[in-house]
Structures are given as structure tokens and as C-alpha cells.
Amino acid sequence: MELFLAITVGGLFAAGFYCLMLHSIVRIALGLVLLGSATNLLIFTINGLQRGFAPLVPEGQEALSPPYADPVPQAFILTAIVINFGLLALLLVLVHRAAQETGTDDTRALRTELKDSKQ
């Protein structure tokens, strides 16, 4: 299972970085979604896949004994998803605005520097 997830994480990162290099802003946004998911999956995988070991302290003991599913990485992932979602919503607003402005989602249409230097 670890191997499968590791390959998935690698594939997601590759796809995400590929999308970031495209000229379409919507695809750049999708690339960032993929990167975010890849990171979350990476955190999930690297901190140990456990099944059926709830992190509950057994009766009569003071602390958890080792085989248990650590809840902390899941808390990280949850927080990261929320942050990622919020920032992504903002990016989509920008993309929408840029599309209104230029009539396309091509990053090359947005460039203003070339126009400046001609003046």
C-alpha cells in the first residue's frame, strides 16, 4: 500500500508541476490543486499507514502504546486543506477577473511589460 501511495504522490507532483508550466491560468490553478493534494497524501503516507489502531489510551494505562494511528498528521492535513481551499478560491477570483479583462485565460495575453517598454 505504501508503494502504491508513493507512486501516486510522485505522479501527482509531476502532473502538478507540469500544469504550472502551461500558459493557461486555469491549468496553473489546477496544477496548484494537484500539488496540494500530493502534499496532503505525502504527509498522510509518510507518517505511517495504520489500520484498526485507534489512538485511545487503554484502560489502566497512562500513555498510548506504539501501534496506533497518529491523529496529528490528520490534523495537519485538515488545516492544510482549509488553507489551500481558501487561497485557491482567491486565485480563481483573480483568474475570473483576468479573463474578464483580457477575454482569454492565456498568461501571455496578460503581459503588460512589453507594452510598457515600447512607450
Partner: protein
């Protein structure tokens, strides 16, 4: 009030005021005054924090009373406290400058609450004692900065925001990976706990690999070579007040985070990291200053100088001696003020000439004598001319490099200083000295006076530079004490974990 309660105040103040600001009626004055008052309070809290830490040692606070490695920890050592104080002062400067320069319609909108969220995020990043919280605070700060950058939604701002946002989010992904990997390896993210556990893990190579993730993520936030593209692509588009805020605070969080993790946590392979940081710092200095040479837009030119000055900071971190860290802290403080002064002045010149293009300016020396003086002092200070603060800060970096027998960094620092002077003189020649361009409409421009409110903040920054230059001794002393704390993590660890009930 107990000293440790002071630690959470900066964030409570800023975020609380941001929320309250959004609830006030949508007019300029309540939001403006709320922001001003909050920044005054923040600066006061920063000063109290600095005095407390100086007197009683590193302070820590466990939020909600959960014991150290499990709960949320806030820590203030001298460096953090000093930076919170500077953040408060910068916030105050930027808010008063915004009040004088921005149109009332913009002030009535979400502008001030966003500035407050950004400042709160920056303070959180300086004060947190936990890497995951550092990530969260950095995201808070970035989120606010994205909106501030795009607030006017002109096309160039949209272009800048999309570049800045996608590259920053990529950096955040790398940072989150680093945090996740480190938790997987060490089982904790509390900085003090990491300082204890990481050396005992017995996997130095894995730790070096993880530390490289942090290096990339924070170097991207700091705008270091070769990860600085987002900075010159975006910093010249928002209003001058926003650029000042960004240049004063955002990249500094990256530098602070680098200094924190590489002094406290990843000390296992210092040879490799310090070589990397030195190479990075040297190249950052050179590329930044060379990039500036080709620029004729005042703000773009200044943006490239942000990069070159970041190089000094990173090189000083790479030297990793006590005198180098002292130089880093003194330089950081000087540079926040110097750069802000220059950006504020660039906003004031643009107000007079209605352009940032140096070709279209001229003769400001004659028409705006006070403005010319307020540009001249920070420009010389940035280049490192005595008796201003830049001279002592730069001298400290060069001396540290000489003492570490690193001739290349020392030489680079001197040459880049000269090129900075050259570049500042270019602005001086083009904007202030030369005759005005011929097609300039002949409107009699009244000299800006202090009453306009534009020059007040510039004046304050310039004053700081003169004071820090003539009285450099106390700052260097404080920086030396802060460097001592950075190099000896024991006090930090004791302050966080020692108080465990």
C-alpha cells in the same frame, strides 16, 4: 499582566482589530483610526516584550495550558521581540502613510483590515515556537498580501498577483512537505523539542534532506537567488504604501525563518548548509544589484535592491559566527527602515511627478528640496555611507566575513555596496538632478511640506537611520545579545520545555 500573556497580544490585537474593522461602517475614518491605534498598541507591546526579554530572559507561553511539545507554543527571544517591535513601528508608518496617500474610497474598503491581518500573520510567524504554526502564520500573511496586491485589479496588478500567488503557493507546498517529512522523522514540530530530539535521531542524512526542503521554501519566501523571480514581477504594481509594507515585512519572515531553523534545529551538517547559504547569499547580492542597473522604473529598481540586500542577510547567516549573526540582526533592522524610507519617497515623488519612470522626472532637487533630502539620506544609508545606519550594518557584515576569513564574501559585499551607491546615484541624477524632460507640462508644483502627511512617515524613517547611525552602539549590543541566544539554543529549550509542570 504576566509577562507570558504579552506573547499572544500582538496576534490578538491585530486579528481582533481586523475583525472589528470589518464590522465598522464602511467609511474611511473609523477604519483608519482603528488601524492606527492598533499599530501604536502593537509597537508598545513589542517594546514591552523587548524590555521583558532583555531583563528576564526568553519568554514562552503555552496556549490553553497544554504542556510544551503537545500544545501551541509561543516563544519570544530577543530577535523575535525586536522584530515584533519593528513590525509595530512599520505598521504605524505604513498606516499613517496610507491615510495620507490613498483615496478615501479605498480606505473605506477592506484595505486596513487586510493590513492588520498581514501584520498579525507576520507577528505570529516571529513569535511561534512550532513549525506547523509557522506555516499557518505564513499562509495568513500571504493570504492577506495576495488580496492587497490585487485590490485595485488593474491589468498589471492581475498579472503580478497571478505570478506572485502561484509561485508563493508552490513555496508553501514545499514548506508543507518539509513540515510533514520532519514530523514523520522526528515525531514533533515544536522547535525546542526538535532542538533536543533531532541530534539524537541518528539519521543525519535524512535530516539534511529535510532541511533542504526548508531551505528552498524559506529562500523562496525571502526572495533569495535563484528563487526570487516573483519579487521583481510583483512589487512594483501596488500603491507605494503596500509595496513598503511588503518590502519591510514579507521577505524578512523568510530570513527570520531561515535563521531560526538553521540555528535551532538543523545544526547536524552545518558545513553543507553554510556553504550553500554563502553561495546563495553571494549570488543573491550580485544578481539583485545587477538586475537593478538595467531598470529605469523607480520601484522596479528598488525591488531589485531588496533582493541584493537579502543576499547580505543570507551570507551573514551562512558565515554562522557570533559576529556574523550580530551583523545579520543589525543589518535586518537597518535595512527594514532604509528600504521602507526609499519606497515611501518613491511614492511621494510619484505623487509630484505622476510617474515612476525615471526618464520622465527631473529637477526635483530644485522644486522639492525637502523630498530630495529625504531621498538622499536613506539612499546613502542603503549604499553604506557613513555616518548612517547602513555603514555600521554593512561594516559589521564585512568584518564578520573577514574574521571568518571568507575573502570572497567580503569582497562581494564591498563591490555590491559600491554598485548600490552607483544605482542610488542613478536615481538621484535622473529624478532630482537633471533638467526636466522637455515635453513635461509646465505646471508649477508646490513643494511638498510636512503638513501633507506624505513626508511625515519618510521623515520618521530617515530619522531612525540617522539615530541608528550615530548611536549604533546600543543596537549592535542588542544584536550581539540576540545572536548569543541564537547560537546557544539551551536557553530557548529551557524556556519552552523547562517550565513543564
Amino acid at each position: 499582566m504576566t509577562p507570558s500573556a504579552l506573547l499572544s497580544l500582538p496576534m490578538i490585537l491585530c486579528l481582533g482589530a481586523a475583525a472589528a474593522g470589518l464590522l465598522t461602517p464602511s467609511r474611511a475614518w473609523p477604519r483608519r483610526w482603528l488601524a492606527l491605534m492598533t499599530m501604536v498598541a502593537l509597537a508598545a507591546v513589542g517594546a514591552m516584550l523587548l524590555v521583558t526579554v532583555r531583563r528576564e530572559g526568553i519568554q514562552s507561553m503555552q496556549v490553553g495550558g497544554w504542556a510544551a511539545p503537545f500544545g501551541i507554543t509561543l516563544v519570544a527571544d530577543l530577535l523575535s521581540a525586536l522584530l515584533v517591535l519593528v513590525t509595530g513601528v512599520m505598521g504605524l508608518t505604513v498606516v499613517s502613510y496610507s491615510a495620507a496617500t490613498l483615496p478615501a474610497s479605498k480606505e473605506a474598503g477592506a484595505y486596513y483590515p487586510l493590513v492588520l491581518v498581514l501584520v498579525g500573520g507576520v507577528c505570529g510567524a516571529f513569535l511561534t515556537g512550532d513549525l506547523f504554526n509557522l506555516f499557518v502564520w505564513i499562509e495568513v500573511m500571504l493570504g492577506a498580501s495576495f488580496v492587497l496586491l490585487a485590490l485595485e485589479a488593474r491589468q498589471e496588478q492581475l498579472e503580478a498577483s497571478i505570478k506572485y500567488m502561484s509561485l508563493s503557493l508552490m513555496g508553501s507546498v514545499v514548506l508543507l512537505c518539509a513540515v510533514g517529512l520532519l514530523y514523520g522523522a522526528a515525531g514533533t514540530l515544536n522547535l525546542a523539542d526538535l532542538a533536543v530530539t533531532v541530534p539524537g535521531l541518528g539519521t543525519p542524512n535524512l535530516m539534511t534532506a529535510v532541511s533542504m526542503f526548508f531551505l528552498v521554501a524559506f529562500a523562496l519566501k525571502a526572495g533569495a537567488f535563484p528563487l526570487f523571480f516573483w519579487l521583481p514581477a510583483s512589487y512594483h504594481t501596488p500603491p507605494a504604501a503596500v509595496t513598503t509594507l511588503f518590502s519591510a515585512l514579507l521577505t524578512k519572515v523568510g530570513v527570520y525563518a531561515l535563521a531560526r531553523v538553521f540555528t535551532l534545529v538543523f545544526t547536524q551538517d552545518s558545513q553543507l548548509t553554510s556553504t550553500l547559504l554563502l553561495v546563495m547569499g553571494g549570488l543573491t547580492m550580485v544578481t539583485g544589484v545587477l538586475g537593478a542597473v538595467a531598470q529605469y522604473d523607480m520601484r522596479r529598481l528598488l525591488s531589485f535592491h531588496i533582493i541584493s540586500q537579502i543576499g547580505y542577510l543570507i551570507a551573514a547567516l551562512g558565515l554562522f559566527t557570533r559576529s556574523a549573526l550580530t551583523a545579520l540582526i543589525a543589518f535586518l533592522i537597518h535595512y527594514i527602515f532604509a528600504k521602507s524610507a526609499l519606497f515611501l519617497v518613491s511614492g511621494a515623488t510619484a505623487r509630484v511627478t505622476r510617474t515612476y519612470d525615471l526618464h520622465q522626472m527631473g529637477n526635483l532637487y530644485r522644486t522639492q528640496p525637502l523630498l530630495a533630502a529625504l531621498f538622499f539620506i536613506p539612499a546613502l544609508s542603503l549604499a553604506g555611507v557613513p555616518p548612517f545606519s547602513g555603514f555600521f550594518a554593512k561594516l559589521a557584515v564585512i568584518q564578520a566575513a573577514l574574521r571568518a576569513e571568507n575573502w570572497i564574501i567580503a569582497g562581494t559585499a564591498v563591490v555590491v555596496g559600491l554598485l548600490t551607491l552607483f544605482s542610488m546615484m542613478k536615481i538621484w541624477r535622473e529624478a532630482f538632478w537633471k533638467a526636466p524632460p522637455e515635453n513635461q507640462p509646465e505646471e508649477p508644483t508646490r513643494p511638498l511640506s510636512l503638513g501633507d502627511g506624505v513626508l511625515g512617515p519618510c521623515m520618521a524613517m530617515t530619522l531612525f537611520m540617522v539615530v541608528l547611525g550615530l548611536g549604533a552602539e546600543p543596537l549592535l549590543e542588542l544584536a550581539d545579545a540576540a545572536a548569543g541566544q541564537l547560537l546557544d539554543p539551551e536557553e530557548y529549550v529551557r524556556a519552552v520545555l523547562g517550565g513543564r509542570p
